[in-house]
């Protein structure tokens, strides 16, 4: 493993973290969209707000981390990604802006009408952003991003693998968030809401699994390099993902929300790692290897040092945040207090 591989692994740590934490965050927005009318959906929307309110900004920083690591470590690849996939990046970016802003605006809305407007914008942009990010992943995975950049502005991200990537991204986010929200409801003492959420998460998980199976077929003919990598190096990870996903569904059936959540996280993380391992040593599949895309050696060393600094500053802070929000006494402060 040379220096550029080490940095690529560090970059990919961000991709996995964003898929899991950002994914659960986006998925909560999808559940917000599906929550139903004001009367029926109020309790779920309130829980979504409590669940992601303290953590969404931190979850979101992983995307910045990915972008910054990419342009610093692999500048030509970054430039190629941005120039070719101009449209989906822009749409994902608009989704991010609308989502974060309207989430905060809804929290401080004065009237139900305002809350409804901001809620719809928040929830629909929670769908848009992961979808386009998934399409971008599909474009890379199917070798449609040329190393020199400026690939076809439309067809490079609208192939079968991109549609699949977008769909799978939205579904995995939804599944993840379902298990997170069921566990959050249970911790707050609302077992009936947890059970409802758990049933929905079970459906989402089953659909996600089915689409993931179909994905195998699509990759065979549309992303051959990745598929061959998955047959060999990535096979174990795909197996882990399948087992963890099934474990999660099994635990959802039994009402063991916290364990179902662990299973879902492992399933998503394993499939994302499988993608990375499957396309190694390519950064842009069939176009550019990690080693060829690598920037200056001194900068690579610098990035490893930055990662080390993050590990002793940002990571403990993140852990403290996650510990706090999972403590029972961080349940909402209600009206009487």
């Amino acid at each position: 493993m040379n220096l550029s591989d080490v940095v690529a692994v560090l970059l990919f740590v961000g991709v996995v973290a964003y898929a899991v934490f950002g994914g659960a965050d986006f998925g909560s927005g999808v559940w917000d969209l599906l929550a139903g009318g004001d009367e029926a959906g109020g309790a779920l929307r309130a829980q979504i707000d409590r669940s992601i309110g303290p953590v969404w900004e931190a979850n979101h920083v992983w995307l910045i981390y990915i972008l910054v690591f990419t342009w610093t470590a692999f500048p030509t690849a970054f430039s190629a990604l941005m120039s070719t996939l101009f449209v989906p990046w822009l749409l994902a970016g608009f989704g991010i802006v609308l989502r974060g802003a309207t989430f905060a605006f809804r929290k401080f809305s004065a009237t139900l009408g305002e809350a409804r407007l901001y809620g719809v914008l928040f929830a629909s942009s929670s769908l848009i952003t992961p979808f386009f990010l998934g399409m971008i992943a599909g474009a890379v995975a199917s070798g449609r991003v040329p190393a020199e950049g400026y690939g076809n502005r439309w067809t490079s991200w609208t192939g079968p693998t991109s549609w699949l990537g977008g769909t799978l991204a939205v579904l995995t986010c939804t599944f993840l968030a379902g298990t997170f929200l069921a566990a959050d409801f249970a911790r707050a003492g609302h077992d009936d809401m947890a059970a409802t959420m758990g049933r929905r998460a079970l459906v989402a998980g089953a659909v996600t699994g089915a689409v993931a199976l179909a994905a195998v077929l699509v990759l065979e003919f549309d992303a051959e390099s990745l598929a061959s990598g998955l047959h060999s190096r990535g096979a174990a990870l795909i197996a882990i993902s399948a087992v963890a996903g099934l474990f999660s569904l099994w635990r959802l059936r039994a009402g063991r929300w916290a364990r179902a959540r662990v299973g879902a996280v492992v399933a998503v993380a394993a499939i994302v790692i499988g993608w990375g391992v499957g396309q190694y040593p390519d950064l842009l599949v069939d176009e550019l290897t990690i080693a060829d895309a690598a920037g200056a050696r001194s900068t690579m060393v610098g990035l490893i040092i930055v990662f080390g600094l993050a590990a002793v500053t940002a990571v403990p802070a993140l852990l403290w945040l996650y510990v706090l929000v999972n403590r029972p006494d961080w349940a909402p402060v209600d009206d009487s207090t």
Binding site: W71, A104, A115, T299, V325, V333, S336
Partner: protein
């Protein structure tokens, strides 16, 4: 109409970047400086001043809105670095990417502790809760340093050599990321901007309370809400001329074309005049007041030293002098006006109640607007003043801009989204202030659904999913935090 259609892609990209940055910079000022002001007020609150504690609670809710918009508008910028300027990122991503990566750490720490602070009310022990502001303050300082390291590098590039590879592409070699960070423009630019965050946040926050005072609200909360930010802003305003002067002094050697435009200097000359106002038309300065020698004295420290003139640069290498000159003067002018208003307040305060003086309060509202003028004009000066270069004397903007067409479509989308987002933010903050005026309750319940019609005694027997507290008046669909 035809003008818009004819808008060339480079201008569209520059306008989009300018709009995105101009929007974000205001919010990032709050992100950097507001936590310190909240800290001061909050600390006074936990030492027993009830008014201060209530004010800190309200400010933390305002911060929640501002920081959210700041976080997402900052994310868009990292997209735009690649979407709009892939030429620069491709060649120099590994030269100047490291401070962005360091800024990522700052952003993580900031986001985490903002989450903890905002949700920590009534959940963390008061002293621990107060101290969670400190990492936010430190990461704001460090984040400012990182971002200004990048921007100052664009003005004074260092830490690499340039070669052209076999395919004729420009490549940066011998990359020394530390030397790139510690470029010659770093310290003055960083300090100037860091102090500006306190100036802008302080004067805007004070302007909000001055507006309340003008509407007859002279209660202790308004006095405190005005005085703390105004004190920070005053110190910042007094420091800025000196810091700005140091920043300007390096221009004669490091960025002469920017200095020439700022000073509207047509020819290189010693004893160069300071030109107040004035417009450059066909290579001649029209109008304006010329004060002989002062230009040299201010920019070079002596009337014997020459201020570089625009004539030293081919037309293709000159920035648009009028824009830079007027932006610079707007910044300096509003800076001194703010100092005047600040001193007026503190002088008045020694003799009588400054909140009784309507003219003073009107001026304080004006200072909020002037702080925005100074902030934006300052950035126009440094960014437009660097033109036509994106990396000074190394890469031109037209070589960095994307070759994708139709940028004006994304520009139009950004204009619409940011206008709507800005208006919504103002409306939401306004409605928060109105609800606080109407009720003593600091909490603002979120209306997730219609208020439940159930009377409290019935709610006690009915299982209720959202509220474990059955005596709450409005149990079903509101949440407080």
């Amino acid at each position: 109409m035809f003008g818009l259609l004819a808008l060339d892609e480079l201008m569209a990209a520059r306008y989009q970047m300018a709009l995105s940055l101009g929007f974000h910079i205001v919010l990032s000022c709050f992100g950097v400086a507001f936590p310190t002001m909240i800290f001061v007020v909050h600390r006074r609150g936990i030492r027993g001043v009830e008014v201060a504690l209530t004010l800190a609670r309200k400010w933390s809710k305002v911060a929640a809105v501002l920081f959210a918009v700041g976080a997402v508008s900052g994310t868009i910028l990292s997209f735009e670095m690649g979407l709009l300027w892939p030429g620069m990122m491709e060649t120099f991503g590994d030269v100047i990417g490291l401070p962005f990566a360091l800024e990522g750490i700052a952003f993580f720490v900031e986001a985490v502790f903002i989450g903890i602070y905002l949700y920590g009310w009534d959940r963390l022990p008061p002293k621990v809760h107060l101290r969670t502001l400190i990492p936010i303050m430190v990461s704001g300082l460090f984040g400012t340093f990182c971002i200004l390291a990048v921007n100052s590098w664009m003005n004074a590039p260092s830490g690499f050599s340039l070669t052209t590879d076999a395919s004729g592409t420009l490549r940066a070699t011998d990359v020394d990321p530390l030397a790139a960070i510690l470029n010659r423009a770093l310290w003055p630019q960083f300090v100037h901007m860091f102090v500006a965050t306190y100036l802008v946040t302080g004067f805007i926050a004070a302007a909000v309370y001055a507006t309340g005072v003008l509407r007859g609200r002279r209660d202790p909360a308004h006095r405190l809400g005005f005085t703390v930010p105004f004190a920070f802003a005053t110190v910042a305003a007094l420091m800025q001329p000196a810091i700005g002067h140091v920043a300007g002094m390096r221009l004669a050697t490091d960025q002469p074309s920017k200095l020439a435009a700022m000073e509207l200097a047509v020819e290189t000359e010693t004893n160069s005049p300071l030109i107040i106002g004035g417009v450059l038309v066909d290579g001649e300065v029209r109008g304006g007041i010329e004060i002989p020698g002062i230009g040299s004295l201010l920019a070079r420290g002596s009337t014997d030293r020459a201020v570089p003139g625009l004539d030293e640069f081919p037309a293709a290498d000159q920035p648009p002098a009028n824009v830079v000159h007027w932006a610079f003067q707007a910044m300096v002018g509003s800076g001194f006006a703010m100092i005047g208003i600040a001193l007026w307040f503190w002088w008045k305060r020694r003799r009588s109640d400054p909140f009784e003086s309507r003219w003073l309060m009107r001026a304080a509202v004006g200072a909020g607007g002037l702080s925005l003028v100074a902030l934006q004009a300052g950035w126009v000066t440094t960014e437009v003043g660097r033109q036509p270069w994106i990396v000074y004397r190394v890469m031109r903007v037209e070589d960095a801009v994307t070759k994708n067409s139709g940028i004006w479509i994304s520009l139009a989308a950004i204009v619409v989204i940011y206008a709507a987002m800005g208006a919504a933010a103002v409306k939401v903050l306004g409605s928060m202030a109105r609800r606080w005026r109407e009720s003593d309750d600091v909490d603002l319940p979120t209306p997730y659904g219609p208020p439940a019609p159930t009377p409290p005694e019935q709610a006690a027997s009915a299982p209720n999913p959202t509220s474990p507290n059955p005596t709450s008046p409005n149990p079903t669909n509101t949440v407080r935090s």
